[in-house]
């Protein structure tokens, strides 16, 4: 696959059909390839199970630049691409998308494999590319589970706790937060030009979690702002240096949205109204559904 990708990238760069290639570049260890733009040679390009970064997010950065970008997207990354497209952050005609298969991304610590795959890969159902110009290589992506509810198991476990336990659980997690903003910055839909938490004009700026409240506030609002827009790409959890299971927040919203307003997968297409910019007059649940449940 890697060689096919390199050949294709080199060809398109050489014949001028694209100005740059967005892919992964060899790191100083085999296990730490970095996202990179190639404009001449692609010798350092790699593709393996350590290529974690969701490249869709990097398309925003080249949106204003001249020329077309060839980008390699794993199936799950294409959902993010669509979501960014839907929100006018990127243009379809500035990208040449080559879909590549994915066998799951390995978790690395201290440059060593831990033996695990990323959490999102363990519950992956996103086996098809939602948007592409071309697919190359053998389709190695496999559906991990046929049960779409698998990914909500952890959420259900938390829901089953009593309020005190839930609170203690989240306090434990949130207290680890160092407010490095990696979750925010790695998140494709969380790509505001100026985040409300950075904006002094808005009177909500916070640079650090001064109190436990601010830890809660940041994560609640962050998850809320991407509710209905989060494709569940898992970058937030992957990049968190403190191992906070942030996907459990986003996925809770996804679970609620699916249950209350009908199945919705952000990034599956670019037309469907997002659940928070839409409503159903007769069928939408009343907020009392929250107080009424056990």
């Amino acid at each position: 696959m890697q060689e096919l990708m390199k050949a294709k990238a080199q060809e398109m760069l050489s014949n001028g059909s694209v100005t740059r290639v967005l892919a992964w570049k060899k790191g100083d260890f085999e296990t730490n390839p970095e996202p990179a733009f190639f404009t001449k040679h692609v010798d350092d390009m790699v593709y393996n199970q350590y290529c974690a970064t969701n490249l869709s997010n990097f398309m925003v950065g080249v949106e204003k630049e001249e020329g077309k970008t060839l980008v390699f997207l794993k199936p799950c990354d294409t959902f993010s691409f669509n979501q960014l497209l839907k929100e006018n952050r990127i243009s379809r005609d500035k990208a040449y998308i080559i879909g590549v298969g994915c066998e799951g991304v390995k978790v690395i610590d201290e440059m060593q494999e831990t033996g695990a795959l990323l959490e999102k890969c363990n519950v992956c159902t996103k086996i098809k590319h939602m948007v592409y110009d071309e697919l190359i290589g053998e389709d190695v992506t496999r559906r991990v589970t046929d049960d779409p509810l698998t990914r909500f198991k952890d959420i259900e476990a938390i829901e089953k706790m009593d309020a005190g336990e839930r609170f203690a659980f989240w306090q434990g997690e949130f207290s680890k937060c160092i407010r490095c903003n990696a979750c925010r910055n790695a998140c494709p839909p969380c790509g505001c030009k100026k985040c409300v938490f950075d904006n002094d004009n808005y009177d909500t700026a916070q640079k650090a979690n001064v109190t436990t409240f601010e830890e809660q506030m940041f994560h609640i609002i962050r998850a809320y702002h991407v509710a209905g827009r989060c494709t569940d790409c898992g970058e937030c959890t992957r990049v968190c240096p403190q191992d906070i299971p942030l996907h459990l927040l986003n996925r809770k919203f996804i679970k609620d949205i699916n249950a209350l307003y009908g199945e919705f997968q952000a990034g599956a297409d670019i037309e469907t109204l997002g659940p928070l910019t839409d409503f159903n007059i007769d069928q939408d649940a009343e907020p009392s559904i929250v107080y009424d449940r056990g």
């Binding site: 952050r89 808005y202 909500t204």
Partner: protein, 648 residues
């Protein structure tokens, strides 16, 4: 920092009896930015207002807080006073220490403490207030009336008489509405057609009125004073100009099986038809679902007999776009479907609704006014009316409200039968008889006492069609007994509901509608003919059940309000509009999707708000993750400052 003046009103003893206004003044003085604080017995009085005006000048105030009654009461008063003092009116904030403090808290300590906090919140908000300037928008001096029943006709006539052009859009081929179908009207028993048709003719002939019959609203854009509305004139297949209304066409039409809408389906009509003899305009229409020519290309008999060559089989729907300053909804009602009321055997030909009864006793109706059973064409020996079918019914199948007209029309029907056919026995099952209205109760009493109508308090549980007669399993509540009553004809006082299409029309006009599909008025008491959406007015049953005199009165009131709008050359627009900070706008366009007014447009990476369209709800501001979108007058920072001040 702003220089803020705080004025606390006693409202006589309304506030001062519970709230220690002096304490509120003293507390306000300690707030940052407050350079003056004072109290006064009645701030809304001229002297009170003058005190504020003087203080603005004397202390160089740049912001004013008035702690008094609800802003819904006097916000405008105090804003006007501030404007007189040379301050921007939007630098005034009201803290509501009457409705929210003195009137609900008995304890003076609680009330005073809360008044101080609410005043503090208003001060915090004023610190962030910025001068706002209402824009101006022009007023198109033309009104559109949707619905051509008596409500629409009366409203249109009154507006037209005041000199403004009015268009009436009516979905059926003729104006006239339900009133045209009625036989007599209560409580005077004058002939409905006799009093209605002159008005129909007046409307058609009026130089300021344009009729668009067989037409529907296609699209609405714009806002008060400047609506742009597209009307779909459905193809009639008859040229309105050439047609002389001679009627030869429908005499020759071979299709004779279409149920007549006007006759409540009691008889059939032809494919080309005028709904009734006095139809305005008196131009037939071809029902394309029935016409052989339109369906198969054969026939065309009507075209052959039409000497003025008015039949146009290839006519298309026509779209007319026109500008209006005001829109009046007068869409009226229908009887509810009785599908879910199987126990009343409405499928039996001898069980009919009130409106069907109107046609059955009408001299111009299917029987020429001869009251017969539809099953065997025999004269009934007895007729039984049942009230409240689907009205005052809190189960899902019915309507929770009283349909209001049934008690009276039933009394009318009963009286008419007894008058014309004294041998027919008439029974009325009722829950209670409601007859408020001029001469109404007298009318009802006459029917019972002079005409011998047999009123039975009770309900009918089931109607069984026995062929020869009907058996009513019922309860006489006053007699306290179950009874099986045999009768020949049953008339169901069926609940009325707004026409189904009103929901679509309301949503196009962004006017609100209640759970029963009645249009909501801007204020149930003080603005009963305006919808909450500026420039949209209500006339007739679309707003709530009404009889004819009430409808006509309301139609006139509506016209007066519309005229009040149309005489203005310009309108001030709401300055509390959304505004997008382009530095922070991501261009995601989520705001454009939640805006009910289409006021936000996306262009090249950012969004822009059309101030003339924006009504200031704030849906966009909350949907915007970056906070680029904000609402002037209720900005994020203002609201958070209020939260902070309250929680301090």
């Amino acid at each position: 920092m702003k220089r803020i003046g705080v004025f606390v009103c006693h409202c006589g003893t309304n506030i001062a009896a519970t709230v220690d206004v002096v304490k509120v003044v003293e507390a306000a003085k300690l707030e940052p930015g407050v350079v003056h604080a004072a109290e006064y017995p009645y701030l809304c009085s001229e002297a009170g207002q003058n005190m504020i005006i003087k203080a603005v000048d004397e202390f160089g105030l740049t912001g004013v807080v008035v702690s008094a009654c609800s802003p819904r009461m006097h916000e405008t008063t105090f804003r006007k006073a501030a404007a007189k003092a040379g301050l921007n009116p939007f630098m005034v904030e009201i803290s509501n220490i009457r409705e929210q403090c003195s009137w609900i808290h008995k304890d003076s300590k609680d009330g005073t403490e809360k008044s101080i906090i609410l005043t503090r919140a208003a001060i915090a908000k004023v610190h962030l207030n910025e001068p706002l300037h209402p824009g101006e928008s022009k007023v198109t001096k033309r009104a559109l009336v949707i619905g051509g029943g008596i409500a629409g006709i009366q409203t249109a006539l009154d507006i037209a008489e005041a000199g403004f052009p009015v268009d009436i859009v009516e979905s059926t081929p003729s104006i006239g509405g339900k009133m045209a179908q009625l036989d007599k009207t209560f409580p005077t028993l004058d002939c409905s057609a006799c009093i209605l048709t002159p008005k129909m003719v007046d409307a058609a002939a009026h130089e300021n009125i344009t009729l668009h019959t067989y037409s529907e609203i296609e699209k609405v854009e714009g806002f008060v004073g400047d609506f742009t509305i597209t009307i779909r004139k459905k193809a009639r297949y008859v040229d309105m100009k050439n047609c002389t209304g001679c009627g030869l066409c429908y005499e020759k039409c071979p299709v004779k099986k279409a149920p007549s809408e006007f006759e409540q389906g009691l008889i059939k009509r032809t494919a080309i038809y005028t709904p009734f003899a006095q139809a305005v305009p008196n131009v037939p229409v071809i029902d394309k679902t029935q016409c052989i020519k339109l369906k198969t290309g054969k026939c065309g008999l009507c075209e052959k007999v039409c000497t003025p060559k008015a039949i146009v089989f290839d006519q298309q729907d026509e779209l007319i776009t026109e500008k209006y300053g005001a829109v009046i909804i007068a869409t009226g009602y229908d009887q509810i479907s009785l599908e879910k009321f199987g126990e009343y055997s409405y499928n039996s030909p001898d069980v009919i609704t009130g409106l069907e009864f109107e046609r059955l006793t009408n001299a111009a109706g299917p029987t020429g006014g001869d009251l017969i059973r539809l099953s065997d064409k025999k004269k009934p020996r007895s007729v039984t009316f049942i009230q409240c079918i689907g009205s005052r019914d809190t189960s899902k199948r019915g309507k929770p409200y009283c349909s209001k007209i049934c008690c009276m029309y039933t009394a009318k029907h009963a009286m008419l039968i007894r008058d014309k056919y004294p041998q027919i026995e008439v029974n009325v099952f009722y829950i209670d008889v409601r007859t408020p209205g001029k001469n109404f109760d007298e009318f009802y009493r006459r029917s019972a006492e002079e005409y011998g109508v047999n009123y039975i308090k009770g309900q009918v549980g089931k109607i069984i069609d026995q062929g020869e007669f009907l058996t009513l399993q019922s309860v006489d509540m006053l007699g306290g007994k179950r009874m099986d009553l045999q009768t020949d004809l049953v008339v169901l006082a069926t609940a009325i509901e707004p026409v189904k299409s009103v929901r679509i029309i309301a949503s196009m006009l962004t006017a609100s509608i209640d759970t029963n599909n009645f249009m909501t008025e801007a204020h149930p008491k003080l603005k009963p003919v305006e919808s909450p959406t500026a420039g949209v007015f209500l006339s007739g049953v679309c707003q709530g059940p009404k009889d004819i005199p009430e409808t006509v009165a309301q139609a006139g009131a509506t016209a007066a309000k519309v005229i009040g709008l149309l005489v203005k050359d310009k309108l001030m627009t709401n300055p509390c509009t959304a505004e997008s900070n382009e530095k922070f706008c991501n261009g995601c366009s989520a705001c454009t999707k939640v805006c009910p007014y289409g006021a936000i447009a996306y262009d090249d990476g950012i969004v822009h708000v059309n101030k003339a369209l924006c009504q200031g709800c704030g849906a966009c501001a909350v949907t915007c993750p970056s906070g680029a979108m904000d609402l002037q007058g209720f900005s994020n920072r203002q609201l958070m400052a209020e939260v902070d001040a309250i929680c301090r």
